[in-house]
């Protein structure tokens, strides 16, 4: 991607609206002076666009916070509740992300996919006593792994639809079709933005390599990869790419087979219901 396009996209993403569910809920919550902080955080952290924008703000050079901030809870603790509340409201007033409804990619399935990858990455982390990060980091990494696709659908829709079509017709992975059509794939797009906005390095890496673990993935990325395959395998939601990717030998030895992971995760009804509940707010 050339620099001019990159700059254009960065400027456009500033004005990018969040998902309708969270916009409505934020407006409702913030109209009450006694607004519940817990609920507000929950709404923000269930929306990839709001989360990304909030992390962008708190990590911006304006504050010069030495520790890169990786979760919405961090943002509340560092910026203060009222600032986060006003920030959420100002994101909400940008408008709502328009519904996208292509045959292979629609907003409902995309949000469900993102939320479930987030939830399962966190659950895997808790089950495996993932010590390097707190489990909220895994949730955020899962939520944001496909952020690049929201940018495409918003600002490069025709090209992205073409890539979706190509992937379906030729049975290729979506990221490969994206690269062929647009010269950049969603993982690169998401990570370019995350890096530009000063998000924590581990998070950038987990977005960047979620289809290419062998090229430099970190542990966060591995969890996101596994959660992504679980969600696709169980056919829950959808983000334009139903192909379940193979586990490398290294991944097999550290996580086991996809089937055994799904078995270990056990009954996911609760998690799925929670995601649906949030989406129907």
């Amino acid at each position: 991607m050339d620099d001019a396009l990159k700059l254009k996209l960065l400027a456009m993403v500033e004005k990018m609206p969040a998902f309708p569910q969270s916009v409505n809920k934020v407006i409702e919550l913030t109209s009450d002076i006694e607004c519940s902080p817990k609920q507000l955080v929950q709404v923000i952290e269930h929306d990839p666009v709001m989360t990304m924008k909030m992390l962008k703000l708190v990590n911006s050079a304006h504050f010069g916070l030495l520790n890169h901030i990786s979760t919405i809870q961090h943002a509340v603790i560092y910026l203060g509740l009222n600032t986060v509340k006003n920030m959420a409201l100002s994101i909400a007033t940008v408008g709502m992300l328009k519904k996208f409804t292509s045959p292979w990619f629609n907003s409902h399935d995309f949000l469900l996919h993102s939320l479930l990858v987030a939830t399962i990455a966190r659950k895997l982390g808790e089950m495996r006593k993932f010590a390097n990060h707190d489990s909220t980091d895994l949730f955020i990494a899962g939520l944001l792994h496909d952020f690049g696709k929201v940018v495409f659908i918003q600002f490069m829709k025709d090209e992205f639809y073409k890539a979706l079509e190509m992937a379906q017709e030729q049975g290729m992975a979506l990221y490969q079709a994206e690269t062929q059509v647009m010269g950049v794939n969603h993982a690169e797009m998401g990570s370019i933005l995350a890096a530009y906005w000063g998000l924590p390095k581990a998070l950038i890496t987990s977005i960047q390599y979620h289809h290419h673990l062998e090229e430099g993935a970190n542990d966060l990325c591995e969890y996101v990869f596994v959660a992504n395959q679980v969600v696709k395998y169980l056919n829950l939601g959808g983000a334009g790419n139903a192909v379940v990717e193979d586990f490398s030998a290294a991944m097999l030895s550290s996580f086991g087979s996809l089937e055994s992971i799904v078995e270990d995760l056990g009954d996911m009804t609760d998690e799925i219901e929670k995601a649906h509940h949030f989406m129907n707010l």
């Binding site: 504050f63 509340v76 600032t83 006003n86 100002s90």
Partner: protein, 295 residues
């Protein structure tokens, strides 16, 4: 370094018979560095009497550090006389506004709009400039180093640490220790608690060992539950913070506007009674208009 209080009241000026001893002006602290540079912490109404005392020094250079842009910390600014006199230089420092997406430069523009004030910003005679600060980014003024530390308030609020020739002070601006938004039975409680502790430790590290801590102590412990989330501390918490960081002197300020002088002394005495004496006892005092401290 010399510190003088010109305004010690929070929220709104409250002149009158009940506040004569401690004063009714809102926040303004004059700091003279060891090489006599003038640093002003906040521009509440206390900045007006301060500015009246500066005439003999004209033309002069002043450095105003704004903790945050709530009214009670800026409403004296348009009446800061040096702004109207040619030859003076006024440097204004403060935080970025993340909601408006604006640097500190707007602080005067907003106040000097046509419908609020008769003089326009371009008509000010002094040379005025602005500098938007980042957390931990120090500014050098003569012998003094001023370092902003992000505190917790409903708007971005910097506390300022000033180090000058081995002496140091810290003013919190308005600050309420952040609290856990989750209940102990919630899954997120423990993680949130952990980040809170890191954040509080960061603040303690940044202000450790100052000779003077000037701390927001607006409420009593009894009043606090009704005011939780408003962004202010209590007398007991202010004292405790000073003790934790080993301050030699703890000066409580941002007095609640409805509190009379008598009531202020009463709640102060009660807070002192509740504390346990330490081996190295700090000197704990109430901020009072006109009070001057030599460090």
């Amino acid at each position: 370094m010399k510190v003088k209080f010109w305004g010690v009241r929070g929220s709104i000026p409250v002149p009158g018979p009940k506040t004569v001893r401690y004063g009714g002006n809102t926040t303004c602290i004059e700091v003279r560095t060891s090489d006599n540079h003038l640093i002003i912490l906040d521009a509440g109404t206390g900045i007006y009497p301060l500015s009246m005392s500066l005439f003999p020094e004209f033309p002069m250079e002043t450095h105003i550090f704004n903790t945050h842009t709530h009214w009670d910390h800026i409403h004296g600014l348009p009446f800061f006389i040096p702004l109207f006199v040619p030859g003076n230089e006024v440097h204004i420092y403060g935080a970025f506004d993340p909601i408006g997406g604006r640097p500190i430069d707007d602080i005067l523009t907003t106040q000097l709009q046509y419908r609020h004030f008769p003089v326009r910003e371009v008509e000010l005679k002094a040379k005025v400039d602005f500098r938007t600060l980042k957390e931990s980014e120090s500014v050098q003024i003569g012998a003094a180093t001023i370092t902003p530390v992000m505190m917790n308030h409903p708007v971005i609020n910097f506390g300022y640490r000033i180090d000058d020739h081995g002496k140091s002070m810290f003013f919190t601006g308005d600050h309420e220790a952040p609290y856990n938004i989750y209940a102990p039975e919630d899954d997120e409680y423990a993680i949130y608690e952990e980040i809170l502790e890191k954040r509080n430790q960061h603040i303690r590290d940044a202000i450790a060992g100052v000779d003077l801590l000037i701390v927001d102590s607006a409420y009593t412990e009894m009043e606090y539950p009704q005011k939780k989330g408003w962004g202010h501390g209590t007398l007991d918490r202010g004292i405790r913070l000073g003790e934790e960081i080993g301050a030699a002197m703890i000066c409580l300020t941002h007095h609640e506007p409805t509190r009379s002088d008598d009531d202020l002394e009463k709640v102060f005495a009660e807070a002192l009674d509740r504390r346990k004496p330490l081996e190295n006892e700090p000197n704990i005092i109430l901020a009072c208009e006109g009070l001057t401290l030599q460090l």
